[in-house]
């Protein structure tokens, strides 16, 4: 199974960190970062056919972003066909402490989990275990 990452965050620094953390965890992992949700959606839509059945893409998604926030992204994402959605796991990566936000995150079926910023190597590895991308020895 090939694992890749899409990071959507309006903060350049957070995108940089995600690229580095993922890159350091495993050189073979690919990371694409986007500062705007709609650009990520366009890319996913365009390349949908290239995502193989067995592959998995983890989408690390920030919540509070201008133009298209994380919730709006998820709502757009849910319009994809179920077989297409299966190849992705959406993980909310946010600094929010707002209970309304947190409650709302889990009203979406396609959201896998919530991770508090900043992203660290440990958090990433445990996430990869959870989605079955690496085995625990």
């Amino acid at each position: 199974m090939a694992l890749s990452f899409i990071v959507i965050d309006d903060s350049e620094l957070d995108c940089f960190i995600a690229r580095k953390i993922v890159g350091h965890a495993d050189k073979g992992l690919t990371v694409k970062t986007f500062q705007r949700g709609n650009e990520a959606l366009d890319m996913i839509r365009k390349n949908m056919a290239d995502y193989a059945e067995a592959d998995m893409t983890i989408i690390l998604l920030d919540l509070q972003m201008p133009i298209m926030n994380g919730f709006e992204f998820v709502e757009e994402f849910e319009k994809f066909a179920p077989e297409a959605r299966k190849k992705f796991r959406i993980v909310i990566l946010s600094s929010t402490r707002n209970s309304n936000d947190i409650f709302r995150i889990f009203t979406y079926n396609t959201v896998h989990s919530l991770m508090e910023k900043p992203l660290t190597r440990e958090k990433l590895l445990s996430l990869m275990q959870q989605v079955g991308a690496i085995r625990v020895d």
């Binding site: 620094l13 580095k20 910023k117």
Partner: protein, 361 residues
């Protein structure tokens, strides 16, 4: 008090109405109604009626019933019942239910009426003040909620970014990579700093009193200009200022500067990078004690569907540049303080222009 207190008197006996009006009309603005329908139309035509006197004994409807009926639709006017002693039961009832403020015995003494009116007026003023304060409180509360929400994003966000960066710094050996990260960290911190400065502006605007002085727009813009020279030069944006002022203009310099600073920094920040001829034009014209200011850019523009929201607290219509979502809200608050107006016109990929008018104070 410059304006007379508006009072409505409802009674089925025209003689009473005439007598009432005759004795009080010099000091108060008296409206009369001889039946309930007349009273109702009077109430809807004069929303500023502060006190209602009503006779208890009227055909069809009693005074107490009338007051009970209008209590929810016209809650503000203070209700006073006019009645003879014999109706004591109904008066007690009405007072206990809160339908009336007081009663005046019939036949009345003019001094009783006047003292009732003065008391009722005080009560009315206190109540209206309470309503205004409640509104303000509600507004402050809503803003506090928004603020608490933005804290986790705008303050905690950059901080968690910095923490994350420090975390990975241990694994970075390449000096160029390190420099890139430091640059991004700096950008993040600058954003946080800008946020805190705007927050400070926000509170200064909400609380402070106006400090009026003579304003020379030429001097004011000369003072601000150097702040934008760097941006103007590095990004190749022409910065043109023209001021026409032959008369005295009085205003508060602090909110004025805040308006210019926010609009100018937006004008420079949101330039269309692909464009050859880039400019920011400021014109100020002071005529007949009104300053008309135009700030025009050749920037990326604002999408029509976002125009209505750009003055809202924490609203951001663009992700091209860092923004706190405070800027235009602070501009609006500053203008509110100075009694000014703002209009915005924007065409996508062509530019945005703001027109501001501010009266001299």
């Amino acid at each position: 008090m410059s304006e007379k207190i508006k009072i409505l008197y409802v009674d089925d006996e025209p003689d009473n109405l005439v007598g009432f009006k005759a004795s009080l009309r010099l000091d108060y603005h008296i409206l009369t109604a001889v039946n309930i329908p007349q009273a109702m139309s009077c109430l809807s035509n004069h929303p500023d009626i502060k006190i209602i006197f009503c006779d208890q004994r009227m055909p069809a409807t009693t005074g107490v019933e009338f007051f009970e009926d209008i209590r929810t639709s016209y809650p503000l006017p203070v209700r006073i019942l006019l009645t003879a002693y014999t109706d004591v039961e109904s008066i007690i009832n009405a007072i206990n239910k809160g339908n009336i403020f007081r009663y005046v015995k019939k036949p009345w003494l003019e001094s009783d009426l006047v003292s009732a009116i003065e008391e009722a007026h005080k009560y009315y003023m206190v109540n209206s003040m309470l309503l205004i304060k409640n509104d303000e409180l509600q507004k402050a509360y809503n803003e506090l909620n928004k603020f608490a929400y933005s804290v986790s994003h705008d303050i905690r966000g950059p901080l968690s970014g910095i923490l994350g960066a420090i975390n990975i710094a241990r694994e970075i050996d390449d000096i160029e990579e390190m420099k890139e990260m430091l640059f991004l960290m700096e950008k993040s911190l600058k954003k946080l700093d800008a946020y805190i400065i705007s927050m400070h502006d926000y509170y200064t605007l909400q609380r402070g009193e106006l400090k009026i002085s003579d304003i020379s727009f030429k001097d004011l813009l000369e003072e601000l200009k150097p702040l934008y020279n760097v941006m103007s030069k590095t990004n190749n944006v022409a910065f043109n200022i023209s001021v026409e002022q032959d008369e005295v203009f009085r205003s508060d310099e602090v909110p004025l500067k805040l308006i210019f600073n926010n609009l100018l920094s937006n004008a420079f920040k949101y330039q269309d990078k692909s464009r050859k001829q880039k400019s920011v034009d400021v014109t100020v014209e002071v005529k007949k004690s009104v300053a008309t200011i135009h700030i025009k850019d050749t920037g990326i523009g604002i999408l029509g569907s976002h125009i209505g929201e750009i003055f809202n607290l924490f609203y951001r219509a663009n992700s091209q540049e860092v923004g706190s979502g405070f800027g235009l809200y602070n501009v609006k608050s500053a203008l509110l303080k100075l009694n000014g107006q703002i209009e915005v016109n924007s065409v996508m990929h062509q530019g945005t222009s703001f027109k501001i008018t501010i009266p001299s104070i």
